[in-house]
């Protein structure tokens, strides 16, 4: 990367790429924080539409100022700390929850390469990538920051000295670490297809080829499900199951500390959707198949178009997540654990095996057949797997004490 010519002296690390990275970070950070607030409004609106209600519509037109009012209100709310709480950890936990969420997006390529010569009024040349930091282990960095979020949740539950919080924190950390394994294995399937862990190159491979959603459909489904579980979204919101645990790990939190937990959740949702878009939906690629696509390098208009495409995909995924939340009922904890450990991990291990075999045979363009083969193996093997007793006993109604008829066959009452 050649530094752009500038009139005055600057420190050596301030190159054109550095300025572009800082601008990207600045824009996306504010976008993420603003969108986190507006996703809450969107969530309430989607919930209202699903349940045939109107939703918030008092503050501003269509309720659009609701997030601002909520934010201001939360700043002015009283914060309190229950007796016996661990003061340091209690204050630290929301910060530990929101910081990993906020630093994750830096490696996601939000648009392609900007040709500096196309910017008017500035005498610049060269190209810059529209990404916060184009690190060569970007995917691993992203998954590492995502898994750091478990500390905030676990510590928040522990520090509160509340039984609900404690159980919620335990459940949440258990769930997050369990779903991280199939997530990592599905990520490996994508890396085997792309041959790189640099996010910009993964997008580039999908620009010239097909989207990895078509290459690895099974991995995409498992990855998306794990994303929901990692972000503690329904149907995996065991950690804050209102009917059982009041509020889960944030029962004792109030004011902006509570809001930081929620901001972390929605920023996670935003970053996770962007991650999914980069891995499986081709980033700013418009054409899922071979052939014409958005050019990778271009002027400001092209870059803005690419950014818009990525944001559109993220928005679609977020709305899908919200529809799922208001459609599916919550899992029970043993079902959740069985789905992760006895369902997803064997399937993704099998998928990894099949994918690496396909790569060995050189059939990288037919990886979709690998997903089909994995599905076939599962369907064939499933009836022959050793069974364990089903915990969900069904008590027959007739003859039980709930039966409307007594043993002689005449009606009770």
């Amino acid at each position: 990367m050649r530094p752009a010519t500038l009139a005055f002296e600057l420190p050596s690390f301030v190159t054109a790429q550095f300025v572009a990275s800082m601008v990207t970070i600045f824009v996306v950070l504010h976008l993420a924080l603003g969108l986190a607030a507006y996703f809450i409004l969107l969530e309430r609106k989607v919930c209202a539409w699903v349940q045939d209600r109107i939703g918030p519509n008092r503050v501003g037109p269509l309720g659009l100022l609701q997030p601002i009012a909520d934010g201001l209100k939360l700043f002015l709310k009283e914060e309190f700390m229950p007796r016996g709480a661990d003061r340091t950890l209690f204050i630290l936990a929301p910060a530990l929850s929101v910081i990993p969420a906020l630093i994750g997006f830096v490696v996601i390529p939000w648009a392609g390469t900007l040709d500096l010569a196309s910017i008017p009024f500035l005498d610049l040349s060269g190209t810059v990538r529209i990404v916060g930091a184009d690190v060569n282990v970007g995917v691993i960095y992203l998954i590492a920051t995502a898994s750091l979020g478990v500390y905030g949740v676990g510590l928040g539950g522990w520090a509160s000295n509340n039984k609900y919080s404690f159980l919620g924190g335990l459940r949440a950390s258990c769930q997050m670490i369990s779903y991280e394994i199939p997530m990592g294995l599905c990520l490996l399937c994508v890396i085997l297809a792309a041959g790189t862990v640099r996010p910009t190159e993964i997008v580039g491979a999908q620009l010239s080829g097909q989207w990895y959603l078509l290459h690895q459909p099974l991995a995409a489904i498992i990855f998306y499900t794990c994303l929901l579980a990692e972000a503690n979204r329904a149907p995996f919101d065991l950690a804050e199951a209102e009917q059982e645990l009041v509020g889960g790990w944030h029962t004792e939190y109030s004011s902006m500390k509570w809001a930081l937990f929620f901001m972390a959740e929605y920023v996670h949702l935003f970053v996770g959707s962007a991650f999914f878009a980069v891995l499986f939906l081709g980033g700013w690629s418009l054409n899922p198949l071979f052939g014409w696509d958005v050019p990778a390098t271009g002027g400001l208009a092209t870059v803005l178009l690419q950014f818009g495409i990525v944001l559109g995909k993220v928005f679609g995924l977020v709305v899908l997540t919200m529809m799922i939340r208001w459609t599916l009922p919550r899992f029970r904890f043993d079902q959740l654990m069985r789905l992760a450990w006895e369902g997803m991990i064997p399937v993704s291990l099998l998928l990894l095996l099949v994918t690496s075999l396909f790569v060995f045979l050189g059939w990288t363009h037919h990886l979709w057949a690998g997903s089909l083969a994995a599905l076939g193996i599962i369907l064939l093997a499933h009836p022959h797997m050793p069974r364990q007793a089903n915990p969900n006993h069904r008590v027959p109604l007739i003859g039980s004490r709930f039966s409307p008829l007594d043993d002689a066959g005449t009606s009770r009452s």
């Binding site: 309190f80 929101v98 906020l102 930091a133 509340n162 039984k163 670490i177 041959g195 450990w341």
Partner: protein
């Protein structure tokens, strides 16, 4: 470098929010207000009690798999660079299958021991 700046920004955001809400919000404590929430009942005992050992066993099993997956990333990048079907790729595939196989044995053992059963 941008990552470091972003980390500083994120820490600043978290600190400013926590401090601001501490300064702006009212602070009227009280005996009842400071007690932990237990659905309106008087709280009893501490919440830091013993919990199910399954959480601990599951965390250990997770550790095994997570470390294994970390080792698989460099393998995946190197492996895809090789000629398909070559003897070297065969060697790499065989080695990693052995590596995964060792932890799959542990995984099957844990499964049969009922580590993943929560009912």
């Amino acid at each position: 470098m941008p990552i470091l700046i972003l980390i500083v920004m994120a820490i600043g955001f978290a600190v400013v929010n926590t401090v601001a809400t501490h300064l702006l919000g009212p602070g009227r404590g009280g005996q009842a207000k400071e007690s932990t929430y237990e659905s309106g009942m008087n709280p009893f005992g501490s919440a830091r009690r013993r919990f199910n050992v399954r959480f601990y066993i599951l965390a250990m099993t997770f550790l095994v798999f997570d470390v294994e997956i970390i080792f698989l990333y460099p393998w995946a990048v190197t492996y895809t660079k090789m000629d398909p079907g070559s003897a070297e790729a065969m060697l790499y595939l065989g080695r990693i299958l052995f590596f995964i196989g060792t932890s799959v044995i542990a995984y099957i053992y844990a499964w049969r021991k009922g580590v993943f059963r929560w009912d």
